[in-house]
């Protein structure tokens, strides 16, 4: 791998050397490195592009890194990754995609990640998106995540897209069984003429299942964001969705929460707030000696931290 690709990997996966534990690095549509452990297997799919990640039951405190980098302008990459997380295991998965496009053609990576989280298993899933390169070619990322959580399973998903992705459409669909829990934290910052669309749909099918979907975003310049969040309460369950956005310049943000209760014991809440940075926040930081621009930067960074 060259320096550009190494830098992309550092950005999306916080990896500077060869990662510990299991990993699979995909570079420009090709396999660039793989390692498995006694408990975690990674197998290339035969019928289509992508991998199966298989975690044995009772695997504890192991991590899996699966970064994807694209540095060839004009490349369109599409993968299917399936995660099978064995009963009572507890693992961290770091995925992410970095695009460096200095050419004129569009670079695009579409990943479809499907999770099968078995009884009592716990997963922390971190996904980072990053784009760079000064070419005119667009950088496009369209991730789809399908989550199936069995009884008493738990998944926490952190998705971050801070810079350089021209267009993104994120679809996340989750199905929760009895006692299953899903926590999603999304952070997005868009600038220039970027667009970001997020669609969450969570089916709380099981008794005492719960979901918390939280999005914090900042839209700058002429960028556009759409946040759709649907929670369907089909049993005794708790659902909460929250969208908190800072809007700047000539940007546009839509927050469209939708709750459906199909059971008398479904408790569902949505909250959405969109607004510019409060003038008094800027003034407070200016009385500490910051310029208006520095104050704005601190507020935005803190908000997305």
């Amino acid at each position: 791998m060259d320096t550009i690709e190494k830098n992309l990997i550092a950005q999306v996966a916080d990896i500077h050397k060869v990662p510990e534990g299991a990993y699979n690095i995909r570079s420009n549509g090709e396999l660039a490195g793989r390692s498995t452990t006694a408990n975690i297997d990674i197998v290339t799919k035969q019928d289509k592009s992508g991998i199966d990640i298989i975690v044995k039951p009772d695997t504890k405190n192991e991590s899996i890194h699966i970064p994807v980098v694209l540095s060839m302008s004009g490349l369109k990459d599409m993968v299917y990754n399936d995660f099978y997380i064995g009963e009572n295991s507890d693992v961290t998965i770091v995925a992410g995609c970095g695009i460096h496009n200095c050419g004129v053609d569009t670079s695009e990576h579409d990943g479809i990640h499907t999770f099968y989280i078995k009884k009592g298993a716990k997963v922390k899933y971190i996904e980072k998106h990053y784009g760079e390169g000064d070419g005119k070619g667009k950088r496009i990322l369209n991730p789809t995540t399908i989550i199936n959580i069995e009884e008493d399973g738990y998944m926490e998903m952190d998705s971050v897209q801070i810079k350089g992705v021209d267009s993104t459409k994120r679809d996340t669909k989750a199905y929760l069984s009895d006692g299953a829990t899903l926590v999603i934290h999304e952070k997005i910052m868009t600038h220039g003429s970027q667009t970001a669309e997020t669609n969450f749909e969570v089916d709380l099918d099981g008794k005492r299942s719960s979901a918390n979907v939280v999005s914090r975003s900042v839209a700058k310049e002429k960028s556009k964001q759409i946040f759709n969040s649907k929670i369907n309460g089909n049993n005794e369950c708790n659902g909460h969705t929250e969208c908190d956005a800072i809007i700047m310049d000539e940007a546009s943000v839509s927050a469209i929460p939708q709750l459906t209760a199909n059971d008398i014991d479904a408790a569902l809440i949505h909250e959405a707030a969109i607004g510019k940075i409060a003038g008094e926040q800027l003034i407070k930081l200016m009385t500490l000696g910051l310029t208006e621009a520095e104050a704005e930067e601190q507020i935005v960074n803190g908000f997305l931290k």
Binding site: R216, D244, G302
Partner: protein
Amino acid sequence: MLELQNISYQVNNDSKDKEILKDINLKIDEHLVVITGPNGGGKSTLAKMIAGIIKPVSGKIILDGEDITELSITERANKGISFAFQQPVRFKGLTVMDMIRLAAGKDITIPEACGYLSEVGLCAKDYINREINASLSGGEVKRIEIAMVLARETKFSIFDEPEAGIDLWSFQNLIQVFEKMYKKIKGSILIISHQERILNIADKIIVLADGQVIDEGSREEVMPKLMKSNIACPTLLDKMH
């Protein structure tokens, strides 16, 4: 020394000009000065004007011989003016540590930040990583606001009604904070307050009512007059008697 020369300020309300400050002339050179007076008398406006948040319609503000009337909030902050808001601002995502660090203007250590928090009676380890959001009580944000001014270590510190919005128990502690601060803080402290116990530690008291300075002098001179004057609403006082 801070000097206000012929400061006037008015706002336009329903196309009628309302005078908030009328030709104010003040010199603040003492260690601890308290401005008091009835609500709506122009005290907070005056404090905001010193910090640069409001610009006077006419008059001059002089800090140590330099005319700062046209300087921005940031420039005044960098010249050594600090301002604790009456209603502290909350920030989603910024922690107590972030704010103390920004206030100090340098990368201070956690023990140093803890020092400032202890000064205002907060147990640092409970607070240092907390976000300054709606989860903190009014009394807590008020103390953090004061700790931020301490961390700045500037030559002119303004506190706008530090007692407002906090419960009586917290207030007892707050008085101790100011009594301690009197000894530690350098330069001048300007407090806007209605509280007798804060007035009791003042070197100088200024009484502001209806946009004018109606009395000014040492604590010994002004306090006795304040205790018997009825600058409060006369109708209310009539009812009480």
